[in-house]
């Protein structure tokens, strides 16, 4: 392995950016490909598939054998709201492999008793996210129902290009939210990225079922990251 390639790869991993180490098994030459870098031909297609699936493996391309080692940042799920849904979502997210953190400035909600095994911060999102900013490998679900708490992190998530942004509330509630976000400088294209009403439509009827719907939507968004509607339907 080229020492410079190792340094580059580790720098990408430290910065929470997706990268693939491509090694030509025949001659040992290697390079780092970042997500979004243009790579031509069959190898390029294999690299795009590997970024989407997160699966490392050998591929044959251009008559050569390459090993693709995929390094995706650990996806994290940030939940704004220490509510009943969050109590159900926390253990489910853990099982599905998404580290989850809960942020809600209301100390009566964000208590150790209600969230014994989960990272929870009784702070305003503006403060809590300062030390751990959102990025493309973060999902954000805003579920307090309180615009004072939800609106700021929703805009922050859209600006950070989080792979998933969801907001709880009826269509009517969301309509009013859209007006407020537009007034905050959010663009209509960004608004379209918000999943509202939140969660896949499975007819969820209680907090635990809404948690299932949210988690399923997060997984779906993660697997389709950075792809248009066409690629999404191909993946499904």
């Amino acid at each position: 392995m080229d020492p410079y390639v190792l340094k580059t790869l580790n720098a990408e991993r430290r910065a929470r950016r997706a990268a693939i180490l491509v090694t030509d098994i025949g001659d040992g030459r290697d390079r780092v490909v970042r997500e979004g870098d243009a790579v031509a031909g069959d190898l390029g297609q294999a690299i795009a598939r590997a970024f989407r699936s997160g699966m490392s493996g050998l591929v044959e391309a251009e008559g050569r054998s390459f090993f693709l080692n995929v390094h995706l940042p650990q996806p994290r799920l940030v939940v704004i709201g220490a509510v009943h849904i969050s109590q159900a979502l926390a253990p489910m997210a853990k099982i599905a492999g998404f580290p989850l953190e809960i942020i809600d400035p209301r100390t009566a909600f964000t208590s150790d008793e209600r969230f014994p095994d989960v990272v929870h911060k009784a702070e305003w999102p503006e403060d809590a996210l300062k030390h751990c900013p959102l990025d493309r490998y973060a999902a954000l679900a805003a579920i307090t129902h309180d615009p004072k708490i939800d609106d700021w992190p929703l805009k922050a998530a859209l600006d950070a290009e989080c792979f998933y942004v969801g907001a709880l509330g009826s269509r009517k509630t969301h309509g009013r939210r859209v007006e407020r976000l537009l007034a905050m400088g959010v663009t209509p294209e960004q608004i379209d990225r918000i999943n509202a009403p939140i969660g896949l439509d499975i007819g969820a009827a209680n907090p635990a079922e809404i948690a299932v719907a949210i988690l399923a939507q997060v997984i779906s968004a993660f697997r389709a990251r950075g792809l248009g509607a066409k690629a999404k339907s191909e993946a499904a």
């Binding site: 020492p3 580790n10 493996g57 080692n69």
Partner: protein
């Protein structure tokens, strides 16, 4: 700056970079293919220095010893090697995977 998102003290590729900075000779072993029940997934690393110090894993401890001794050869020669372990190769290799799986491990020198 250490990243709060990586477990730097246990991350084989971060350790290999640190060894390199200390002027050590280093080999990197990577699981590139698995069949059947393999203990570590494709992409897993074992990193080895010229004294035989190692971090990470390519199996559940079944074949690490053999990989380390091959890695010392690779550090000496600079030529990468593809190793294969498993039931099918028990006669060719002194070690095997007790779980019945089969793995291919690519061993290369850093630099």
């Amino acid at each position: 700056m250490p990243s709060k998102f990586l477990d730097e003290a246990r991350d084989p590729l971060i350790i290999a970079e640190g060894w390199m900075k200390d002027g050590k000779d280093v080999a990197i072993a990577t699981v590139v293919e698995t069949w059947g029940s393999a203990p570590r997934p494709v992409g897993s690393h074992l990193v080895i220095d010229a004294e035989g110090t190692f971090h990470g894993s390519v199996s559940g401890g079944c074949v690490e010893g053999a990989v380390i001794s091959e890695a010392l050869d690779v550090i000496g020669s600079g030529q990468p090697k593809m190793l294969e372990f498993g039931v099918a190769d028990e006669t060719a290799w002194q070690v095997g995977l007790s779980c019945g799986g089969k793995i291919r491990v690519y061993v290369e020198r850093l630099g």
